[in-house]
Symmetry: C2
Subunit: 219 residues, 2 copies
């Protein structure tokens, strides 16, 4: 197992610490659309992504969603082990956006090693600081960027991730990423279409003018 590839400070763990983490870790597979983690009461462990894509999001009381961040190959999913930190007082849901292979390090094993290892505790700090930065970026976007810029950014990001300009996305799904009602997304997409930036058909959004979308994104 290649846990050392996920933890740059692996060599600073003692041999018994390394052995405990290795012995406890298990291989996991998630199908596309499967829920990996569901709120504060759920605390399986950390997931180390070998391949695939995870999406972390929050849900309002009324069931509306907004994407906080995504995780890719070689990323560590920390909040699926939120019980290792008492002060984490928020619910997030993590779902597999693509079929995902991961190593799972159980929360209790990880917590015990982290409590005695300064290098692992400091590295955990860095992972959390990185997610904190993602959420601060999102807050900045929501507060100060208009929806047209956020939608342009989202479409370009999807296009890069899927490596295609023809995106299979419903307006409702886009709304769930951006925390916006479907109707609002539809209206904005129609405006984009009238400006020649996209072409809409049932269940797909084709990006027809990447240059203008990029200009809009960085406006």
């Amino acid at each position: 197992m290649e846990l050392n590839e996920y933890f740059p400070m692996w060599d600073k763990l003692t041999a018994p610490q390394q052995t405990r983490l290795l012995a406890a870790s298990q291989k996991r597979h998630f199908d596309r659309g499967q829920i990996v983690h569901n709120g504060l009461t759920d605390c399986t462990g950390l997931f180390l992504l070998q391949s695939g894509q995870l999406r972390a999001y929050t849900i309002s009381e009324e069931g509306r969603e907004i994407t906080m961040y995504r995780l890719f190959e070689r990323d560590i999913c920390l909040f699926s082990a939120s019980c290792i930190l008492r002060s984490i007082q928020f619910d997030i849901v993590i779902e597999a956006e693509k079929a995902t292979e991961a190593w799972m390090v159980p929360a209790d094993t990880y917590k015990k090693v982290m409590e005695e290892s300064a290098p692992l505790a400091n590295y955990t700090n860095e992972i959390m600081a990185s997610r904190f930065s993602d959420v601060m970026w999102l807050l900045d976007q929501i507060m100060w960027k208009s929806l047209d810029r956020r939608l342009a950014h989202f479409l370009l990001e999807e296009s890069a991730l899927e490596n295609t300009t023809t995106l299979k996305l419903t307006h409702e799904l886009i709304g769930n990423h951006l925390g916006t009602a479907r109707e609002v997304v539809t209206r904005m997409l129609r405006y984009f279409q009238s400006e020649g930036m996209v072409k809409l058909s049932r269940g797909t959004v084709e990006l027809t003018d990447l240059d203008r979308l990029e200009k809009l994104e960085s406006k």
Copy 2:
């Protein structure tokens, strides 16, 4: 000096670690309105609040503000030492909202002890997780709560902090807390006034119906 009162794991530090932290720490005073920390390039150290009140906020490119969280007596201000964590990639500003007395633990000393002490690294993790939870609460408010609820919450919080129902607050200042334009705040306050919940005069907002404000807040 009473650093142990801020760090519940103080006894788990070695004697030399305790001595280094104590020897490096300095007393600091901030006047009301003084800037304690200004963005990523600024990295003085951690502030341990003996008395007073700090406000952490972000600013848009256009100069608009939104309050992320506040810190009070016995709280630890971590992000004024943001350089101790490489992965913190966001700018925040911290200002003294009231005259504030604090111990300052220099960032480099703290970082060195944290790198070798698992208890201090884990406690730092808890502080960050707590601020992360504050920001997630804010994100939830912004995304899903209407401005009338957020304004009612803010007025009630101010009233509790200042221990008075007659608040000295300009509409611009309220806008800076809520991340909203002054005109929008004025309009909402006038609606509150027409409903008998507040009474407005130059530079003050008097809360005249706490019950209804509380009902609105928890609507």
